[in-house]
Symmetry: C2
Subunit: 252 residues, 2 copies
């Protein structure tokens, strides 16, 4: 088993950010400056083409630490952020860019589905290794409940496959904004923990029907679909239950 | 114009309940025992076959008074509660019961759509007359913002048609669980105020597609779809933004 190597630490406004690696996977751990021992641990995914310190992710992570006392961990997905890109990564990114430039919606979907599935296949065991290593740390341990904190697009394509096989995840936030294939539907059918599903209602790159079929597929008795107008870049969420993870991870 | 005639008053746990009539329409006004002058006014609809004092409605109304300081008004829909039933009402109820008993889903939908539309046609001007009369009261007046507080099924079939033509309504909660016809879609297209739309995800009497088409039709830039598993009788709502009306009616 691989251990956590901390490589940098910074602290501001009551939140400590620790950069780390677990094997070749770089990550960042956000935790309360004090009193965060054995706090619920939230795994936060980033979107396709982005990385573990994308401003929106950092803002959500810091908010979760400050508001709920969570510890939050984010990692770079394969081929993203600080990680090297393979020839296959470069090819997929070029294909995706070309399809988007020429307005080839079918092409965007095909490349996204194929590349997303390939990334998720690599990312799921990485998340499990990171979780194993973090649970070895005295301030985290195995008793803290674990949730998946979403990220629409790639963060959800990975998160659904992870939650389907990882019993340590006891509640999860997923989101639309990506391509749904049969493998993802099948993974969703294996998920029974409470799910909050955030759907941008007007996403040009998403087939709304398939996103609704994905929500339908979760086997969870407690699941919530929340949709607002907009696509995954322009959406302004409103009325989202931001206490969802806290409630299910035992805060309050 | 018709005035409000109060016929009974009762008070408990900080909430005053005043029975009233406006013309032939019986209603009930829930208000804070003190300090409720010019509070936001919420019109609350009841479901098909129910009435203005159905326990679930009373519970929601009292909660809204206690939690947000709203004044809430409910009225019996035509042919419901304390109101006489016409021969047409009796016939529609018999038809509906028969279709439900024989498990004729198409029949249930056909009768519901026809009867719901007929009831709404009568109920909309009644709501407007009640609102006119209430605004004449010194404790309410015309300056208090007005919202529609939902009720799925019949409460929404009436509410959408009302909000489409009534500029005094500045935010509305609607819900699935009823039959959607083209007239209702057309009414939804005329609504531009913030909408919260509550959808029971597994309602046997509702075509999910048409409920989603209804959500799609609202012209509101701010609208939220919220779905949980269950049908309109068994649903347990979770994670609903219960501050929606308060936010839009100027509380907080």
């Amino acid at each position: 088993m691989r251990s956590v190597c901390f490589t940098a630490v910074a602290s501001s406004d009551g939140v400590v950010e620790r950069d780390f690696t677990v094997g070749e996977v770089p990550g960042v751990l956000f935790s309360p400056a004090s009193g965060g021992d054995h706090a619920p641990l939230v795994l936060m995914g980033h979107g396709g083409g982005l990385h573990k310190k994308t401003p929106a992710l950092v803002a959500r992570a810091r908010d979760a630490v400050t508001k709920w006392g969570f510890t939050v961990v984010a990692v770079d997905a394969p081929g993203h952020g600080d990680r090297p890109r393979s020839a296959a990564d470069e090819r997929a990114r070029t294909d995706l860019r070309e399809a988007m430039t020429t307005g080839d919606a079918g092409g965007v979907r095909a490349v996204s589905a194929r590349y997303g599935a390939a990334l998720a296949e690599r990312a799921v065991p990485e998340w499990q290794a990171v979780l194993d290593a973090l649970q070895e740390l005295p301030g985290i341990g195995t008793e803290a409940p674990v949730g998946y904190g979403g990220g629409i697009t790639l963060g959800t394509a990975i998160g659904i496959r992870l939650a389907a096989i990882e019993p340590r995840i006891t509640a999860a936030i997923f989101g639309g904004g990506f391509v749904v294939d049969q493998a993802l539907i099948d993974a969703a059918r294996r998920i029974t923990v409470p799910v909050q599903f955030l759907l941008p209602w007007d996403d040009e790159h998403v087939d709304r029907e398939s996103a609704l079929a994905l929500f339908d597929a979760f086997a969870s008795t407690e699941k919530t679909l929340h949709a607002n107008p907009g696509d995954h870049r322009t959406i302004r969420w409103s009325g989202v239950d931001d206490g969802f993870l806290a409630r299910h991870l035992g805060v309050n």
